[in-house]
Symmetry: C2
Subunit: 109 residues, 2 copies
């Protein structure tokens, strides 16, 4: 049995993965930008501002860590993106069945 | 000769100082809130967002440090606020001449 980190990605799988990865990233960033503009528009006092600052600190840290495009971790990354709703399983169609099965399982954990 | 930190503040001076301090604080916060709303409205991409985050980190640190209402440091605080334009010297009228002279001198350094 291969462990997740030993999994190889064929060229066509790499193309599918890259596209899905970028798509999820764009979606999450777009949603974040909108959320920040809404929050910024509703700032009335200093507390709101520091709450926005805290929010940005967390988001920055999370996004920096989450979008890690290394094939050794990509199955975990995709599982998380599916779980969080930034990616649909059918957008990964074309990956081999074993990878898809693992991602689906992990995304439900 | 008294050093700055030994200076005593009469009750009427304390009232003047408190009012001026709060006024400067409100002005700076108000300006900051407006600036952040403008910047937030102009956010188009992730880089802009992280630049806003960096800006807020700096501002938070500065404001936390700057508005220090201890009588031992208040002359320095006021000198800085005057230098930065958050306070006018004539808004400190009623403080004794020595304090005012020191603040004016320091605010020009």
């Amino acid at each position: 049995m291969m462990s997740v980190s030993d999994v190889t990605w064929s060229q066509s799988e790499q193309a599918i993965a890259r596209k899905a990865f970028d798509m999820a990233y764009e979606r999450e960033i777009e949603a974040l930008l909108q959320q920040v503009q809404q929050r910024a528009g509703a700032i009335a006092q200093l507390d709101d501002l520091w709450q926005l600052h805290d929010f940005l600190s967390t988001q920055r840290h999370e996004i920096d860590g989450k979008y890690d495009y290394r094939y050794s971790v990509l199955i975990f990354v995709f599982a998380r993106l599916i779980k969080e709703g930034w990616l649909q399983v059918d957008e990964l169609e074309g990956l081999d069945t074993e990878k898809l099965t693992k991602m689906k399982l992990m995304s439900r954990m």
